[in-house]
Symmetry: C2
Amino acid sequence: MMYYTVGEMAKRLGVAPSTLRYYDQEGLLPFVERSEGGIRVFKESDYEWLGVIGCLKKTGMQLRDIKTFIEMAMQGDQTIEPRLALIIKQKESVKAQIAELEETLRTLEFKEWYYNTAKENGTTSVPRNMTLDELPEEFREVRLRLRGN
Amino acid sequence: MMYYTVGEMAKRLGVAPSTLRYYDQEGLLPFVERSEGGIRVFKESDYEWLGVIGCLKKTGMQLRDIKTFIEMAMQGDQTIEPRLALIIKQKESVKAQIAELEETLRTLEFKEWYYNTAKENGTTSVPRNMTLDELPEEFREVRLRLRGN
DNA sequence: ATACACCTTAAAGTCAACTTGAAGTCAAGA
DNA sequence: TCTTGACTTCAAGTTGACTTTAAGGTGTAT
């Protein structure tokens, strides 16, 4: 079995040791054990827990809610259903975030076209004053949205 | 021409009036004019600026950088190129964010399968102790990543 | 046994982006 | 004219997630 100190595990995860200590303090790492002298001893299986925490963090979940999930997991098999429900909820949240970023991407692509056209003409007034049917079809709805229609 | 107070514009945008005042204070709204008595007067065209600010915010850009963009825009046509460069940079950033969220989504889908399997069997030890070739092909790389391989 | 790197805790500090509160001003309707 | 609701500024407070600092303990290598 391989064991790690907080510094080693932090390095492996690419985070600061203080971050792991902070997570522990906040109750997110109840699974981490201690040596005789009080030093944290991370096991190989703890890496997986930290990976799950990292995954949930990437979904935008707050530490207090991640803590709830970890606490459920510590209860054992009786909490399988609420854990499943939470995962499904986060999955839907991530899908919504992707959809929103894709809309943002379309807006940026419009702006890219806008400034490219401005650059070619030496002035933003050319793309700005174009009529709807003069601009590429894929950007029409974007401009309508930006202008409040 | 239609004009709006800070409260009306905030409502239209779905933000708090204090947010718009804060943005103004931070120099993000140099285009907003004032009445004789010192009250902010938002024009129709300001809605579009606020939409651009909102778009950049959704990319994760900080207010100080959005301010830089707005300041460039206020300089006029001589800043078309740096504005285009900034838009392209944000576009790439958003693409990377989408890719990361998609990876997170795959992890959540693995976890959904994991807890569904646990639920069917009454214990997480069933999915946990499965060998790699027992689990659905699409989840193999996810589990390898979570376990640190 | 001593040095040294790395560990410990507790408390305070930081940062971005707001939000709230206090005290006062503006403008539209009765 | 007066009331009323929304506006103004400035300063201080809030939130979440860390990071830093200080004072001290651990553990391994020589």
